[in-house]
Symmetry: C2
Subunit: 266 residues, 2 copies
């Protein structure tokens, strides 16, 4: 088995993931060579952060990069990988960072393929510490898997080998745990604002609800009117949502499912 | 205006709220006199923690308590307050800790009434620090409001005067922000477990989604397939939920409302 480590990387895409991942690599001593993006403003901004070169064309990518990270929307990955493969001087590993794109989608294009999926919600305006972010690794062979694993360990204390099928499940779970909860936060903020209450009052509750999961399963710490079967309070709340049809719909559905979930688990 | 401070308190109820609030008072130098509960095991356990006396009958409450805290289910508060009032040697303030019971519900029984609503999810097996918990105060007159405010400030850095109507709105918001999000966590954990993935992988994502609200409005940091309008991924996810009817229903409704909410805000 080869043991070549990944020491030089380039990025295709200069979005939220690249703005968090490239600096993490850079700070860990990895050379970041090129940042390729149609958006040159963003590419240059990121390149400056990590001492790399901004480019707007895949043909400019340094052929000696050990790996190219496609940090792109799901439906742009394959096209971009094809374009880089046509330029077949590139001998490195093609890696995507998507939760819902399979490894096979890349393997179809280039046999040296891998996945490096950091399970986190990223924002380019707030670069966060990678240390506790789980990184899901998958490679087309043991050599690539191992090389990506070693690279991930430079920046994260939680690196896991995860198949494409499992990664899809994790991504679906993440939609519930992050995208949907964030929408509930938005609804809660909206409800308070409409009554001129500052929504910041909810923040300690939101933080505790999230962080108590370290101590126990969510199904076992469920509280509130629905799990108690408190019909009087639920009806009062639905009355308060009389002018908020979407809020009332969410209230009814989630209350019903909290009760069903409890019975299923009982 | 009288300025008598609240220095001695008793509790009716030995549940999750009492187990967190009584120790907070005790540690702040407040005397806790009696813990009254039908559940003598719990009353004794809590009494021991705060150097109080456990009792199973309201008539045993020390008449010199400046305030009695009814930390009871909503529908038990009025009955219990009536019973204590009949024993009219008690001259102190009656206080409830409920989000959805109005002050008037207590005033009907005793003119010396107040509300002390700590906005948090409590568990008796994990006593948490009150310091950052917002406490919503309401009193039947300025004297009582002020006395409860001073008491709250001994344990929390975030004390707010909140009317019964606003408190009901905050409680409704809290159901979305805590009870409903916890149910989504339970769904996400369930989805991962059914595919033999350890749900602990979601914890850093859940924590970041909650704590980034300190930096911005939830509606502005919404991510995921729904807000992007990524129909391909949404259909893939619904396919994965083919054997989880409730999960699919929640997925459809919240995705639809994330899209509508975005348009409304646009």
């Amino acid at each position: 088995m080869e043991t070549t480590a990944i020491q030089k990387v380039s990025f295709v895409g200069a979005g939220n993931v690249a703005f968090n991942l490239a600096p993490a690599f850079y700070n860990a001593g990895i050379q970041v060579r090129h940042i390729v993006s149609r958006n040159q403003t963003e590419a240059q901004k990121l390149a400056k952060l990590v001492n790399a070169v901004a480019a707007d064309n895949l043909s400019e990518i340094d052929k000696s990069s050990d790996a190219v990270f496609f940090t792109l929307p799901d439906d742009a990955i394959a096209g971009s990988a094809k374009e880089l493969f046509k330029n077949n001087d590139f001998k490195g590993v093609m890696v995507h960072t998507s939760g819902s794109t399979t490894l096979d989608d890349l393997v179809k294009i280039n046999s040296k393929a891998g996945v490096f999926y950091p399970l986190q919600t990223f924002n380019k305006n707030n670069i966060i510490d990678f240390d506790e972010i789980p990184v899901c690794i998958e490679g087309v062979n043991e050599h690539i898997t191992h090389a990506l694993e070693c690279l991930a360990r430079l920046i994260s204390g939680d690196v896991r080998r995860i198949s494409s099928a499992q990664r899809a499940v994790i991504h679906l779970g993440a939609v519930f745990a992050s995208n949907f909860t964030n929408h509930l936060y938005a609804r809660a903020f909206d409800i308070l604002k409409r009554s001129a209450v500052n929504p910041s009052i909810l923040l300690p509750l939101i933080r505790e609800t999230a962080s108590r999961l370290n101590r126990g399963e969510p199904v076992k710490v469920q509280t509130g009117p629905a799990v108690r079967g408190d019909v009087r309070i639920m009806n009062k709340h639905l009355g308060m949502l009389a002018d908020d049809e979407a809020g009332a719909e969410i209230y009814r559905l989630l209350s019903e499912h909290i009760q069903l979930f409890k019975e299923r688990k009982a």
